[in-house]
């Protein structure tokens, strides 16, 4: 094996590195290493420094993202394995901002819980680094490495409360499911590599769409890769880990998993689907259709009978994964290669999912921030604990209502625009399958109203059971997280042009669109 490597490396030429394009990742890596160095030198004495450093690092990494976006030219490195385009940049911005909000949410939670703070933030940054890499990865190897880089720290974060049996169990289930999924995905990737002879997604696209019918190897490869990502985005029937892990993990980590980790799964899926496999829509379309429909239906119906708010949000996040998968089920090569206006259809699906991800991120992070704030007083995540919240915490009640109704898709809050884009993408190809899925989205949104509304009724209408009216103390950083997510949720809803403008992205530019 090594001999083959040596032979192939006959003439080595130094790869040209576009430092500007790689700088968000490099900054994050630098800050992560710096935190470890600080931890090694000063140990726990440097805790407050580390919190500040990680938030500054996340915001600093955002600076080159903005300058690259202003510059606007797509950049490509390492033979096309690392691409920085508009799509990669908007997703990087979403990841960095979500992670920043998660850091704000974690500050008091982790400090008061006496957990391992320095390690917590360096693990969080490492995971975000994996996500940033994922947005730019256009090669099987880099997608795999990015996926593992974002997952492995996440397994540890889920298990963070070492002495707590529930946290152990959450981490164990997440780990076993995650590793099993990535092993299956890796097997699929090895088959795709074998049928194409290259790990570059553009090369795979050429090879797999060359023939009229897919070979068995390609079909198996596509199916296994899809199953792997279905685990990652917690789509039914590969969702079983999600509610348990969300309930047992520390709540800021749950917020991180349900937003950033899920979004990273979608980014990886979209990279592979649009750049690598778009010619094989005959294989992936029915699969994604089933995954999307099942996730919506199962997620929403099971959420109806949850008594724990974190589990309810977990099932709701499964349903949202269904909504986000839905536009991908109408993407096909026909509409791409037919030329003319039809490229728009595939791009529309991509934009719908990206828009939905951004809006979902804001509302879901906000909802978890409220859960953390309320848990500081009532010490439980049972929905019954929220009875009469309005009597003693009117501000939190209003915020929670905003976030839940945005998730439900009620105008003028952000969620309606995401659903609108999804429906638009589903209906515009004019196929029966697309329209059926659109109908399912509408029906499920109505069902979802019931369980979001039930929490609202508990908060606004009912009386406080134990008559304890002491207000909830919300620390500054948590309040900042609540403010940021609320402003984003409202802004997306009132001025949808705002997010619409940023999500005008395309992945198809390079492949014959």
């Amino acid at each position: 094996m090594l001999a083959a490597l040596v032979q192939a490396g006959g003439s080595f030429s130094r790869p040209s590195v576009d430092w500007h394009a790689a700088s968000p990742e490099l900054i994050l890596l630098g800050v992560g290493v710096l935190i470890t160095v600080i931890d090694v030198v000063w140990k726990q004495r440097a805790r407050s420094l580390v919190v500040g450093l990680s938030s500054v690092g996340l915001l600093a990494a955002l600076v080159p993202v903005v300058t690259l976006a202003v510059d606007g030219t797509p950049r490509s490195m390492f033979g096309g394995a690392f691409v920085v385009d508009d799509y990669a940049l908007i997703m990087k911005a979403i990841f960095l901002l979500s992670a920043y909000v998660v850091v704000l949410m974690s500050t008091n939670y982790i400090a008061e819980g006496d957990y391992w703070e320095n390690e917590y933030y360096s693990m969080l940054l490492t995971s975000v680094l994996g996500m940033l890499l994922m947005t730019s990865a256009r090669d099987l190897i880099s997608i795999f490495v990015a996926l593992e880089l974002l997952s492995i720290p996440a397994y540890m974060l889920a298990t963070w409360r070492k002495r707590d049996l529930k946290s152990n169990e959450a981490g164990l289930k997440y780990y076993l499911m995650g590793v099993f999924a990535s092993a299956i995905m890796l097997y699929g990737m090895s088959l795709l590599y074998g049928s194409a002879g290259t790990t570059l997604l553009t090369g795979i696209n050429k090879a797999v769409s060359a023939t009229d019918k897919p070979t068995a190897v390609v079909t198996l490869g596509v199916v296994f890769v899809l199953i792997g990502f279905a685990f990652k985005v917690s789509a039914v029937p590969f969702h079983t880990w999600a509610p348990d892990t969300y309930e047992g993990a520390p709540t800021p980590v749950t917020a991180f998993l349900s937003v950033a980790s899920k979004a990273a799964g979608f980014v990886g899926l979209m990279n592979i689907l649009f750049v690598g496999l778009i010619g094989r829509s005959d294989v992936y379309q029915p699969l994604i259709w089933i995954l999307a429909a099942a996730s919506m239906i199962v997620g929403n119906t099971v959420a109806l009978r949850q008594t724990n708010i974190v589990r309810m949000l977990a099932y709701s996040s499964i349903a949202h994964a269904g909504y986000m998968l839905a536009p991908l089920a109408v993407v096909s090569a026909d509409v791409v290669f037919a030329g003319g206006g039809s490229v728009v259809v595939a791009d529309q699906a991509l934009r719908a999912t990206v828009t939905y991800l951004a809006i979902y991120a804001a509302a879901n992070l906000g909802a978890f921030a409220v859960v953390i704030a309320v848990a500081r007083k009532i010490r439980t995540a049972e929905i019954d604990g929220y009875q009469g919240l309005f009597r003693y915490a009117p501000g939190l009640t209003v915020l929670m209502t905003i976030f839940l109704f945005s998730l439900a898709g009620i105008p003028p809050l952000g969620g309606w625009f995401g659903k609108f884009r999804v429906l638009e993408a589903l209906i515009s190809p004019g196929t029966a399958w697309g329209s059926t899925l659109a109908l399912l989205v509408v029906v499920n949104s109505v069902v979802a109203l019931y369980y979001y509304g039930r929490v609202a009724v508990k908060m606004w209408v009912e009386e406080v059971p134990d008559g304890d009216m002491t207000p909830v103390r919300v620390p500054v950083s948590l309040a900042a997280a609540l403010g940021l997510t609320a402003v984003a949720t409202l802004a997306f809803g009132v001025g949808p042009g705002l997010i619409g403008h940023f999500t005008e992205v395309s992945l198809l530019a390079g492949i014959g669109g």
Partner: protein, 121 residues
């Protein structure tokens, strides 16, 4: 016979010969050696002292951490071997790259040392 079957025939013959050799040596030993079992002889050997406890015993949990550190750092070496073979071609660029790689690995080791993982007590 097809190429496919022929190559497996080789494997089958190889396996049979292997089995036959092992059988022959063990059988020969059984015929030649004297056989007088006593309770002392059947006891498990424990460096000359009287054996104590069960044959199934748990290894100390501390071995695990060392084993884990060893496995991780050992496996990372697979990236260093191909690099070392081609060092002349990669030049200063490769040296700096590998320096960064080893630095990050080293940071992990220093971390383990500072957190007291390497102490045996």
């Amino acid at each position: 016979m097809s190429e496919f079957l022929r190559s497996y025939l080789t494997v089958a013959i190889f396996g049979l010969v292997g089995l036959a050799l092992v059988g022959a040596f063990l059988g020969l030993g059984r015929i030649l050696r004297p056989d007088h079992p006593t309770p002392q002889k059947l006891e498990s050997y424990e460096s000359g002292v009287d054996p104590t406890g069960d044959t199934w015993s748990q290894a100390n949990i501390r071995y695990y951490i060392f084993a884990l550190l060893f496995v991780i750092f050992d496996v990372e070496a697979v990236f260093i071997f191909p690099w070392a073979i081609r060092l002349d071609a990669y030049g200063a660029f490769g040296l700096i790259e590998m320096g960064i790689f080893i630095f990050i690995l080293l940071l992990g080791l220093i971390y383990a040392w500072r957190k007291g993982v390497l102490r045996w007590a």
